[in-house]
Subunit: 207 residues, 2 copies
């Protein structure tokens, strides 16, 4: 195996490592020695063509996006959420009770997951619930929550796939807008997904 | 009637006019002439004692806070929402359908209103819905939305009453936190209500 060495988080072509498929990004970061190779360059060229990048990397992993299923607890769904925030272990009954509670809301609360067919693991997720209002002619608003991509699957644009799936759902059920709260450092990602910053989020914890 | 004249938006004691009861604030702003009067000073003294201010002004108006009722459409509820954002006229059926739809969610979505008993008008409102999650040990989060106080009732601390009511509801049903989105200029108000700024809100409109 030949390796490239890079300084910082970009390839020599200026492409962010975050935007590269994991296998490709690993080639950049696993060695400090620079060796030229036609084979490596050929592989790199494929991934550095940004127009091909998303689809090829997504399909290469044979991932599919779908709604959460009750069997997903055994596929690492809770462990994935734990990468986002505090998420204690749940018994099968606790998981199933909450699953059915949410499922009873039908299209008004959905959770999507991306499963890696090659490993059978859930590697990305996000949720959206539909708020019904009186304003805007009895309008509806989609609230996106709890978006996370497995640390081993960064660079596959799975986060974008999740946001796209949830946004399209919100639009399909008649929402006039979809909103979410994020840290300032994630703003650029959501802007790429077509969002704009609007207000600030305030929080009060009960402890 | 005797009047005080003031410069800017504060009384001579440094109290923001916004914090005064409407009737009192009007005395400050309706004349440019300053006349001393024991009667006026006595009235002022009562309201300038901040510890008495909220309760006395709230009770003076004989307002009560309660959940939205189906008869509130005829009490100016929709007109009040119109002060917040676009809110078209709704037919009785449209209003009732949405009312029942929300009511069917029980404690998971409530709208509170403050009615002025002297006029029979709804002068403040806000809503909170309860999101159920898997994270935080199947935790729940309260989302506060659509808080508005009638322009004629500013200074009575009704906004604070509404936030307090909704926050207490969220806590009572087991939420670990309550969140809301607001403009930067309203941050100070929510800080007084015990909230802290955390993230930023991103939005995507479907048009």
């Amino acid at each position: 195996m030949y390796h490239f060495s890079v300084c910082g988080s970009k390839t020599p072509n200026g492409v962010e490592l975050e935007e590269l498929p994991v296998s490709c990004a690993a080639m950049y970061t696993s060695s400090e020695h620079l060796l030229k190779s036609d084979i490596v360059l050929s592989v790199m060229k494929k991934y550095l063509r940004k127009d091909m990048q998303t689809e090829s990397s997504y399909e290469d992993r044979k991932c599919k996006i779908r709604r959460l299923e009750i069997t997903d607890k055994s596929k690492g769904f809770i462990e994935l959420l734990r990468q986002l925030t505090v998420c204690d272990s749940l018994s099968d009954k606790e998981f199933e009770d909450r699953f059915h509670e949410l499922a009873s809301q039908g299209d008004d609360h959905i959770i999507c997951v991306i499963e890696d067919d090659s490993t059978g693991k859930i590697i990305a997720t996000g949720s959206v619930f539909i708020e019904k209002k009186f304003i805007r002619n009895c309008g509806k608003v989609g609230h996106i929550e709890d978006v996370v991509v497995d640390s081993s699957a960064r660079g596959l644009h799975l986060g974008k796939k999740v946001i796209q799936f949830l946004t399209e759902h919100a639009e399909s059920v008649g929402c006039y807008k979809v909103i979410l709260d994020c840290s300032a450092e994630n703003r650029a990602f959501y802007e790429k997904c077509g969002f704009k910053q609007k207000e600030i989020q305030m929080v009060k914890y009960f402890t």
